[in-house]
């Protein structure tokens, strides 16, 4: 469970870092952030396909595995 500890530490570290690094952005200053190109996933449809292909061709775990499904990918 060394890995697990490492991950939690990493996550907390990044959380603290980002929290401390961020400036306050007022509501009327968020125009850029609201643009479609700034979306965390700007092309969700294609991303969906990519993830399915990677899932059936690679052994990496997912950070969104709570989605479920995906089938066997046995080919």
């Amino acid at each position: 469970m060394r890995l697990k500890r490492l991950f939690i530490l990493g996550l907390t570290g990044i959380a603290l870092l980002t929290l401390s690094a961020c400036a306050s952005v007022a509501a009327w200053e968020r125009g850029y952030l609201a643009k479609p190109q700034m979306a965390i996933d700007p092309n969700p449809l294609q991303h969906h396909i990519q993830l399915h292909n990677y899932f059936s061709r690679e052994a990496a775990a997912s950070t969104h595995s709570a989605d479920g499904g995906g089938g066997c990918g046995c080919y």
Partner: protein, 926 residues
Amino acid sequence: MGLKQEKPLQGRVSVVCLNSPQHRHSRTQTRLSQPVDTASKALKALTSAAIVLPGLMLSSAQAADDGGRINFQFSRYQEGTRNLFGAPNNFDPIRADVLHGNGLFPLTDRAKFSFNYTQDTWSGATPITTSPLAANPYQLIRANTPSGTTVVGASPLIFPRGLLLDRDLNPLRNNSEGVLAQDTRSVLVLASASPETRHQANFGLGYEWDEAAINASAGFSLENDYRSSFGNLGGRLDFNQKLTTVKFGAGYTSSNISAILDHDASPYLTKTAFDRQIERRGGSEILHGERQDWSANLGLTQVLNKQALVDANFGYTHSQGFLENPYKAMTVIFVDPDILNNGQTTPVPGDVRALLEQRPGQRNQFAFNTKYIQHINLLDAALHLDYKFTADDWGIKTHTFDASWVQPLPFGWMFTPRIRYYSQDSASFYNPYLISQQNFSRQAFDSFGREVWVDSLNPATEYFRDANFNLVDGAGNPVNEATLLVEPKTVAFDPGLLPGNFSSDHRLAGFGALSGGFTLSRQFAKGIALEAGFEYYTRASGFKLGGGGGNGFADFDYYVANAALKLNLESMSPSNPLGITLHGHHRSHVKDDGSSDHHRHNQPAGLMYAHMLDKPGQFMVGYRFMYSRQDGRMHHGAHAVSDQTVVDQGCNDEILCRFTPTYMNMRMHMLDLMYAPTRWLNLMVMPTFMDMDMNLRELDGRPPRVPGVHEHTGIVGHSTGVIGDTLMAALLKLYQKRGHRLHASLGLSAPSGKTDIELRRIFQIDGGAIHFGMQLGSGTWDFVPSLTYTGEYDRWSWGAQVSGAKRMEKQNDSGYRLGDAFQATTWGGIDLSRWLSATVRGVYTVQDRIHGDFNTFNARIGPMDFPRNYGGEFWNIGVGVNVNIPGGRFVGNHLGFEWLQPVHTDVNGFQLSPKGALAASWSYTF
């Protein structure tokens, strides 16, 4: 809808700081397509923006959207050929066609319903195991041609004979000079698969508060051999004036595996480790397993400044149960230790066997990814940088680096190039193949050193040989050997001398991969967007971080191309917000000349070309689904017939039938796109996607098997999919008077569906072209005209249509053409309420038999392989309902359902009789 209008929005899309990406996307699009200059609109936007929440991305990539969203997508995955090191490679590489639709509908301002449907059909050759090249795991397939015998391909051997090893257990192979020399190369052993289809559907509900959201979804994934059901719960909390968002989710998946082992490979597979999980039924061996996956994730999105944000996610998955791939085997080379240690230097024979792979019964996976997104002022673009690290207790660590540049362009275009690098370590139990210093099986001896013999029909009793080689029992009494089937008793290898887990699945090997691609999308008016994407991926053992993975034999590449239609229902304001149904009741819309602006959209759902748009500039986007089934007894003409009749008469004079279909299902998905350039002309395009499945049985009284001739074996059916023919039509209004209308449609069907789908080759036996009825299109350009009359008065509506299909070519590329078809139908309908109507109709269809025949090999095993057993006369009664949403949130939507019940059928030749068809349609006019 270009960038010009976007500028004033900046600073006004204020509260939507940390929205989910989709959400921001859609809201911005919404604003682009609607003027936002009035105070009430701005207030409404602000209010709705405030309740908009991020984080639905957990459950569905397309989740959040205020006004509703529907997406259709098609994608093709195509692999390149694998390297077989000189063996003739006649294997089709893997191809998967994926159809994907999803939608999100607001139930209230805060509650949403979403659905996702995915259907993928794949076929091609996939590795079953890895073998030393020196074992020659491919056997040449030769065919007689006019110029003599030629090699047409190779069939895989998972039990090749004659491998020799040196004393250090390196494989030996004749080199170019014919000298036996060390050759340590490995090669994938490929096995072809006939097409298979998977269906997945899931449904979700979400609820949003001002600074939080929760969503739940559940669904299932169905394949012949693999069934999963899953559920998940997720949510989001906003803090710090929405500069910080915490996302969380948990999910559970339960899967049932019933893998039908390859009938032809199975006799050569060693399955002893799974004996208790294998069921034998109908000539097939079915490997059963269960698996559970629990997963959880936790994420954080943080706005760093006005132009940058970071997103980090942590995921954990625990899996347990049957984690193997039931179709993968490990090649184990058994070496006799007595020969190996006999003190000589001559080559040692290796006994090459394939054992079903054995993976650990559980797996714990951890994943962490972080993404940084920076707005680039100069180009108004965004740079996305993503890194992911994962590790699991199988020893696999992975690194993924991903960068993309999202560039908006004028006229609503968006271009996103992308590059990705991936590297993974090998699983601790991965090996291309194993060598075990023991015999696969050996003679059994008892405690006195005597050879043990058994009766193969009753192996529990042991026998021995006396000094004269006569059979005796345990007490030394002579036994009459003539009454028994005696054979030497053998002892199988000791699994304890093999590793506890082993797999040669190259996905568990160490390798790297480089991929790149782009997405191009364009936003059109009225909330319609088109998207296309392409990605090229190349896997190479040598790309692995920190040195090569040593499995270059498994390298391959693939490309993926996709195209999508995206509809934002909020932006698609219906030009006729009251809906068409209203006009049945509100005659005030009828003009002075007696013509009405609109006619009602309440024609039966199974009817095509029956509805026209009325206003110039109007669009209609629709989806049609059709399901039909045939099963039961075989019919000849209008009557059921016995198996013996089918055997004798169902095929032809030279060939007796051996098999007959037990059922056939067909599902069609059609995208219905219509545009009205003028009042009297409508243009229509209809891409069709379909999948079919069929099963066969042996006929009673069939002729005996002949070696080398294709046989359908086991309980596996066939399936095919997914691109069908594409319809294009022009609809012309010919006559219109109060309550009456006549229109014609001139249609053309383009042969985009395949007609050369083949059953897989089974070792030396060619499967040949799959049955006519399982091919996906006509293969010819077809003329599809129709003439439709519709009438309406008060609550009543009625109509009649004649339509036909005329093949415009003598034959398709496969050598045949489908029969021409004619259909006549008439119906009546009544409005049951303001939004609901019911229809009843009669349908008569006649279709000619197929002309010509396959110009490639076709196994001709049953009636479905003969052209004369297609077409016929069909009388159906249809009962349907139509729902037109006249107002409110879903205004402009139309839904229709119809069931078609066969009342009389007179088939050409020998066929299954139709059991009915379901048609469902949805359309949205705007």
